[in-house]
């Protein structure tokens, strides 16, 4: 259940940014979460509902951009979408991959007023 820690960090980042901009309301929060980020989305949802109470994110609209993981084969340079770390290159069958995207876990933007 490290998702609770993750949500607490998101709240901290969002409140800090909103206050620095002299905003009193966070209307919307946009998150980038890659499919290989290590976050379980249902656990995140559960933690979110509990953790945002009495914070500036309590009534915020949440947008999550799921970022599909992509890798490049270090043997034959093929770029492809992966679901798991142990996926093999569809062209040559190798496992020596460079993960290009999909590990993102970040607060992208806030809409404040």
């Amino acid at each position: 259940m490290h998702e609770l820690s993750i949500v607490m960090s998101i709240i901290e980042i969002a409140e800090k940014q909103a206050k620095a901009a002299n905003a009193s309301v966070i209307e919307e929060i946009e998150l980038d979460i890659g499919t290989l980020s290590g976050v379980a989305m249902d656990a995140l949802e559960f933690a979110w509902q509990q953790a945002v109470k009495q914070t500036m994110l309590q009534d915020s609209l949440r947008k999550i951009n799921r970022i599909e993981a992509k890798a490049k084969c270090l043997d034959c340079d093929t770029e492809f979408t992966i679901e798991k770390y142990d996926d093999a290159c569809p062209a040559c069958g190798e496992h020596l991959l460079n993960i290009l995207q999909g590990k993102e876990l970040r607060v992208k933007s806030l809409l404040v007023s």
């Binding site: 490290h2 820690s5 290590g38 142990d86 496992h95």
Partner: protein, 288 residues
Amino acid sequence: MCATCGCDSGSKSTFYLLDNDQPQHGYIQSHSHGHDHSHSHSDDHLHQHSHDDHQGLLHDHSHQHPHQRTVIDVEQDVLHQNNLLAERNRGYFDAKNILALNLVSSPGSGKTSLLERTLNDLKGDLRFAVIEGDQQTTNDADRILATDTRVLQINTGKGCHLDSQMILQAVQQLKPAENSVLFIENVGNLVCPAMFDLGEKERVVIISVTEGDDKPLKYPDMFHTSTLCIINKTDLLPYVPFDIEKVKLNAKKINPHLEIIELSCTSGEGLPLWYEWLKSKVLTVAVS
């Protein structure tokens, strides 16, 4: 609240520095996860825009306008704070030439046994210090203390992993010696600790032959972020349906760069390989 873990709500971490020089190895420190930066988010910068001292021009349109909607491009990693502190720890370790190793595994894979064996066998060759992480008890720290090694126990309470803030505080109390090896035994958990950089030099994942040989596939994050995999309890191989070649293949599929060492803390088989690996990672002080 601490840097990343949500452990402020009644689940404080506790730090116990165990010391053989203290009577009844008293827990000389039991301070509860400090958090002296108890920032209460109390809006201390209360909406500065009262426009009153704009070079004395009293344009008193008295703030009727509603707050404008603004988009803030944050683009900040959620684990940014943990990663910053981890880098700070890493810098400290580098400066002091401390080899910090983060030991991760499921509960019961033999992390503490491996440490006991290693500390006893190598204490004449290298200097060691240990940080133990568990939800509760100082049982592991007690075992380490019995090897005459400096040890600090972190009890995470409800926490499922160690984070860089805990290590920062632990190191401030433990004060590991220069040119030493610092073992950080994480909370037994193959999921959560994967995401939290502690500032370690290497991450060592341990599995034992009494577990399933598909473990790397089931818990890929941990195997992907580790540099060394130790397969422990090999003396039990004749008694369990554990395919060691399969587990190695699975681990290599997740992380082709992973080094693998097979050993048994009970029989001692394979330990020299681990000791060799350890010594190869210890930086020798440059002699001018």
